[in-house]
């Protein structure tokens, strides 16, 4: 099947303007005749819901938590990028575009990334107008910091809680539309099925998590803003309920899943410390601005960190990458930490941790300055580990954090299923094979505030308002399917819990499809996942019934989809016979252990199509064309 | 007027009413205490002060009516708030501990308040509505405080007043929106001093009278 990315003609910097002009408009008075279903209330979902409602569309918004404000965007710490060049340090749209393309190891679309960089400035304006309390300088102007592999200071932040503040801004805008009755908010709902009528997305099936009731919702378009699949690794920095179910339902209904093997492993997380552990906590990578990463030079050195003199320390990032030092992109930092630990230099109880040391920064700037910058992060670290990072170095280790892959979308953010739009982390569009720090918030809000309001109009204007209703047979069939899956899960009554199986799945993927991959391991993992899926469907136990509040049943449904998704992840990883960004196949490395791309054969987006149960997914390729940048080997030396 | 009623009938409005009337009574306590201090100078000074007050004539009546109205407002609003607050948590905790915010004064506000209603009524009956034809106010005071039971009762009542204002004084400022990092320590210190002065100032009078007169 051919994929049309609908990238507009013309020079890069004019594409978006030209496209906006070309898009059809919906007459203001007609907008109220359209209903848009938005699934998810994070940055992308909340901003899209609010913006569409402001335009006059009827919006129904769904979230699984008790309030739209709880979406996991809230946990983003470090900041949001924008090409404002307020610091007069040479930033520009072109530079943000180039950094993002390069950071993504040349596996993203030029046109999408350029548009993102163009829009970035509007986002900051919008958020400030909403009352987001960004950090400011003494003079009252906005403060910036340099972040995650950027050599300019373009990151706006609100202490270590930027995601929270941006989400609360979007949540405020959403709340305003709920009060105005333009948005109907459905909280504590799981989306369990996508409904297609004549091949177009026309509705969803949800479960009311309190009553267990199965609900049918009809709309003229469906917008998925359901986040990423990082929890497939079980241990990740994602929230406990983050899941891939909505995306997988769409995939099984024909939407393509793009680049699932691009999973970002974040370098600065609190290390694993026990079997019971439920999640890994991220320590913002802004810490790398002042912290120095090191391990003992001699493997097995068991001295306390403060007793190890400088000549016995190996500041591996600074030594290997003199110009970027501790600020190399996430994938590079993560892989190097793993490399050191694999070589036996790791620290901590498990040997899978490296030090992040603030001693020098505290000596240079004083404890007050460091406290002002990172106080809340240090406090959080101390709460979790009972170690005081002002006195002893932090221990960090990489953890699954973000999914660059996601449902395939075109330039309009519409998937190959007409009427199904995908925003934010749930789509694959802008980060290529690796996302730069402080770019996720930028993308989520760009999609929701400034892209979907235009592009959805283009689709709806061409489509006309729908005559579909919930009595349509497609809804009945979808609901019956959902009920049947739940009945099956409840009837197994085996001997293992969902968490137990999920944990095992996570371990398989982390070991064989984590920071470094090889063909042999991937094949092994495919078998293991297959066996585990059988184990799940024959030996899982789910207590309770489907017609009540049942958290175990919710979990079971999610684990079932993660198991299916794992196949896709492994398939994509093994078919990409190159290394790029976060995807490192050990067979394809440079002499310096960097990812070695194969631009001749793999400069494409891998968009996987569902072929049926237990059938191998079908690969569709969207070639990536680079007209404005020259593909180069990334080097952060 | 409707905006005023509307404003004052909200939860925050009711707290404003409590704050304003409460602070009014704090002022009253100061004036009352200053007057009472003349007792230490003996009968003549005290009766002279009483005569001065009575000479104010209608002004005193106005003040009394005002106080009565404020008292009714303070008490009814307080009871209303207490009732609403009680109803706001129909199922109580099986185990409940303070996180460190509450003080003796704040936790007992409604109870000390109710005790004070009865005290004020008894106090008015014993002093204000006593027979003023055949005896001077000083006579009434010295007679009353010759009984150790009355002295004990007054001392306890004054402790209750001190506890009540220890929270009420600071709380009134908070309710009126006066809380500023610069001035807050001063307000809190003043509240402590105020409750000590009121408690000790009023409480020592009966003791002094019973021991030395």
């Amino acid at each position: 099947m051919s994929l049309n990315s609908n990238i507009p003609e013309g020079p890069l910097h004019e594409k978006w303007d030209r496209h906006k002009f070309k898009l059809k408009l919906v007459n203001p008075a007609n907008k109220r005749k359209y209903t848009v279903l938005v699934v998810g209330s994070g940055l992308a979902g909340a901003s899209a819901s609010a913006s569409l409602a402001e335009l006059g569309y009827n919006v129904k918004t769904f979230c699984m938590q008790d309030s739209p404000r709880r979406a996991h965007s809230i946990a983003a710490q470090g900041g949001i990028n924008a090409a404002k060049n307020y610091q007069n340090d040479g930033d520009s749209v072109q530079r943000l575009f180039y950094d993002t393309i390069k950071g993504g190891d040349f596996r993203a679309r030029e046109a999408n990334v350029y548009r993102l960089a163009q829009i970035s400035s509007n986002i900051i304006d919008q958020c400030v107008a909403q009352g987001v309390p960004f950090a400011r300088e003494y003079g009252g102007l906005l403060a910036n910091r340099s972040f995650g592999g950027a050599q300019v200071s373009r990151t706006f932040y609100a202490r270590g809680q930027t995601g929270q503040q941006l989400l609360l801004g979007a949540y405020g805008a959403l709340s305003r539309q709920i009060a105005a009755k333009k948005v109907t908010m459905f909280t504590r709902r799981d989306m369990l099925e996508l409904v297609l009528v004549d091949g177009k997305a026309k509705g969803i099936i949800t479960r009311n998590l309190i009553t267990g009731e199965i609900e049918k919702h009809v709309g003229d378009a469906v917008v998925l803003a359901t986040g990423g699949y990082g929890n497939v690794f079980f241990l990740s920095t994602n929230a406990m309920a983050c899941n891939v179910s909505a995306a997988m339902r769409a995939y099984k209904k024909g939407a393509f899943f793009a680049n699932p093997c691009y999973t970002q492993i974040h370098p600065t997380c609190i290390p694993v410390h026990g079997d019971y552990q439920s999640k890994l906590t991220l320590m913002s990578e802004s810490l790398r601005n002042d912290g120095r990463v090191w391990v003992p030079k001699n493997p097995g050195d068991k001295r306390k960190p403060n007793e190890i003199p400088d000549q016995d320390r190996f500041y591996f990032l600074e030594e290997k990458y003199p110009s970027f030092g501790n600020l190399v992109p996430r994938d590079v930092a993560s892989r190097n930490a793993k490399e050191q630990c694999d070589a036996g230099r790791g620290v901590g109880e498990t040997g899978y941790a490296v030090y992040l040391d603030f001693k020098e920064a505290i000596a240079r700037d004083g404890e007050d300055v460091i406290k002002r910058k990172y106080g809340n992060l240090f406090a959080m670290y101390e709460k979790i580990t009972a170690d005081n990072p002002y006195k002893t170095p932090m221990m960090i280790y990489p953890a699954s954090h973000y999914a660059m892959g996601g449902l395939w979308v075109d330039y309009n953010l519409m998937s190959n299923v007409p009427g199904l739009f995908v925003l934010g982390e749930a789509n694959f569009s802008d980060h290529g094979a690796n996302r730069l720090g402080a770019s996720a918030l930028m993308q989520g809000l760009a999609d929701g505030y400034f892209i979907i309001p235009y592009t959805i109009g283009g689709y709806l204007a061409g489509e006309g308002s729908s005559t579909v209703s919930v009595t349509d047979s497609a809804f009945g069939e979808a609901a019956a399917q959902v009920e049947q899956t739940m009945d099956t899960l409840l009837s197994i009554k085996g001997k293992r819990t969902c968490d137990d199986i999920h944990r095992e799945l996570g371990k398989i993927l982390w070991d064989y499809c984590g920071m470094a991959r090889n063909d042999e391991g991937l094949e092994k993992a495919k078998h293991l996942v297959n066996d585990l899926r059988k184990e799940f469907w024959t030996n899982v136990t789910v207590p309770g019934s489907k017609s009540e509040l049942n958290q175990s049943l919710e979990k079971a449904g999610r684990v079932a989809e993660f198991l299916d998704f794992a196949d896709l992840l492994l398939e994509d990883a093994s078919s990409r016979k190159e290394s790029c960004g976060s995807h490192l196949n050990e067979a394809y490395q440079t002499e310096e252990n960097e990812a070695r791309r194969d631009d001749e054969n793999f400069t494409y987006v891998a968009a996987w199509g569902y072929a049926g149960k237990e059938k191998k997914a079908q690969l569709n390729k969207e070639p990536l064309v680079f007209e404005n940048v020259t593909l180069s080997q990334r080097s952060y030396k | 007027m409707s905006w005023l009623v509307k404003t004052l009938s909200t939860s925050v409005g009711k707290k404003l009413v409590m704050a304003v009337t409460g602070l009014f009574f704090c002022c009253f306590l100061v004036v009352h205490l200053l007057g009472n201090l003349t007792l230490y100078k003996g009968m003549e000074t005290f009766n002279g002060y009483v005569d001065h007050l009575h000479a104010l004539g209608p002004l005193i009546r106005v003040a009394e009516v005002l106080m009565l109205v404020f008292a009714l407002v303070h008490v009814t609003t307080g009871l209303m708030l207490t009732y609403q607050n009680y109803m706001s948590r129909p199922v109580k905790y099986q185990m409940n501990k303070s996180g460190g915010g509450r003080t003796l004064g704040s936790a007992t506000m409604p109870y000390t308040g109710i005790v004070l209603i009865f005290f004020v009524i008894a106090h008015l009956l014993g002093f204000h509505f006593a027979d003023h034809e055949t005896q001077t106010v000083y006579d009434i005071v010295s007679h009353a405080f010759s009984d150790p039971v009355v002295v004990g009762y007054y001392v306890v009542a004054m402790l209750v007043v001190a506890v009540h204002v220890s929270h009420g004084f600071w709380s009134a400022f908070q309710s009126l929106g006066v809380n500023h990092e610069k001035y807050n320590p001063a307000i809190k210190a003043l509240a402590l001093v105020f409750s000590l002065v009121v408690g000790a100032g009023f409480g020592l009078i009966p003791v002094y009278m019973s021991l030395f007169i």
Binding site: A50, S51, Q65, D66, R70, H72, A75, K84, I124, D125, V128, Q130, G131, P133, F134, R136, G140, L141, L142, R159, G172, A173, S175, M185, T187, A239, S278, K279, L282, M380, K383, I384, A386, T541, P543, L549 | L4, T10, S11, V12, L16, Q84, N85, M87, S88, R89, V91, K92, Y93, Q94, N96, G99, G101, S106, Q174, S175, L176, G177, N179, H180
Partner: protein, 250 residues
């Protein structure tokens, strides 16, 4: 270093919002002191599921203290005994072997118990819907640096904005009042120039919604401030009062 402890839990169990609930006793064995409180609950639940019993329902999500989803009253304290800590960030090293731990849901007339420890806090959303935002549509905002905001003001606004909406203030208030929650939002927006144009309508509308929902009245007991996992100051309640007076007088 890691050690393990055994605890006795007394947990509030309630089948649904209509049912009558009661405390049930469970034992939590071999709990690593490095676990968080919720991880300890996970362990208890895993055991219950394997025994074919109904696991304890509780709200939780991010498990890093920011989403505001978790919360329970542990031994009489909202989010447990540690100051400035959400339940998910409370670690078992703060408990001793043999402790009896009583776990109850956040209680308020406005927070209906849905099941076990899970409560309905949608009232807090309704209060925000009543005006806890700046009424600006997407697009058309002026340049972000057009209005300078003094750093001190921005910092104060941020102090207030840190609220995670968990409802611990309501749960710990002797009167189940939501004033700290409302005060934090009103303060954030009243401090910033962007929030000033509708400051008056905002405070009046949010307070009347709060009253309507059956939250109690503030009596300045400061329990909310003491239990707030984000250490939000009651200075924000004073500012709310001030804003309310301003709105009434003007």
């Amino acid at each position: 270093m890691t050690k393990t402890i055994n605890l006795t839990l007394k947990v509030w169990r309630q089948k649904n919002s209509q049912a009558k609930g009661n405390l049930e006793t469970y034992s939590a064995k071999n709990i690593s002191t490095d676990m968080s409180f919720l991880e300890m609950m996970d362990v208890v639940n895993e055991t219950l599921i394997l025994e074919g019993k109904d696991p304890i329902t509780f709200d939780h999500d991010c498990r890093e203290g920011i989403c505001g989803m978790c919360g329970a009253v542990v031994n009489g304290r909202a989010h447990g005994p540690e100051k400035g800590t959400t339940l998910c960030q409370l670690h078992m090293r703060h408990f001793s072997d043999g402790d009896v731990v009583v776990v109850e849901p956040f209680r308020s007339r406005a927070f209906k118990v849905l099941k076990d420890l899970m409560v309905d806090r949608s009232g807090l959303d309704q209060i925000i819907q009543a005006g806890g935002y700046v009424s600006v549509n997407t697009g058309g905002a002026q340049d972000a640096n057009a209005i300078p905001v003094p750093q001190k003001i921005a910092d104060k606004a941020m102090d207030a904005a840190e609220c995670i909406g968990c409802g611990a203030c309501v749960a710990s208030c002797p009167n189940a009042s939501a004033m700290l929650f409302v005060g934090a939002k009103v303060s954030q927006l009243a401090l910033l120039p962007q929030g000033k144009p509708e400051a008056k309508e905002r405070v009046v509308s949010m307070i009347s919604k709060m009253d309507e929902l059956g939250f109690g009245n503030c009596s300045n007991e400061r329990e909310c401030e003491a239990e707030c996992p984000k250490n939000i100051s009651i200075e924000n309640i004073a500012r709310l009062n001030r804003e309310f007076i301003k709105a009434g007088v003007k």
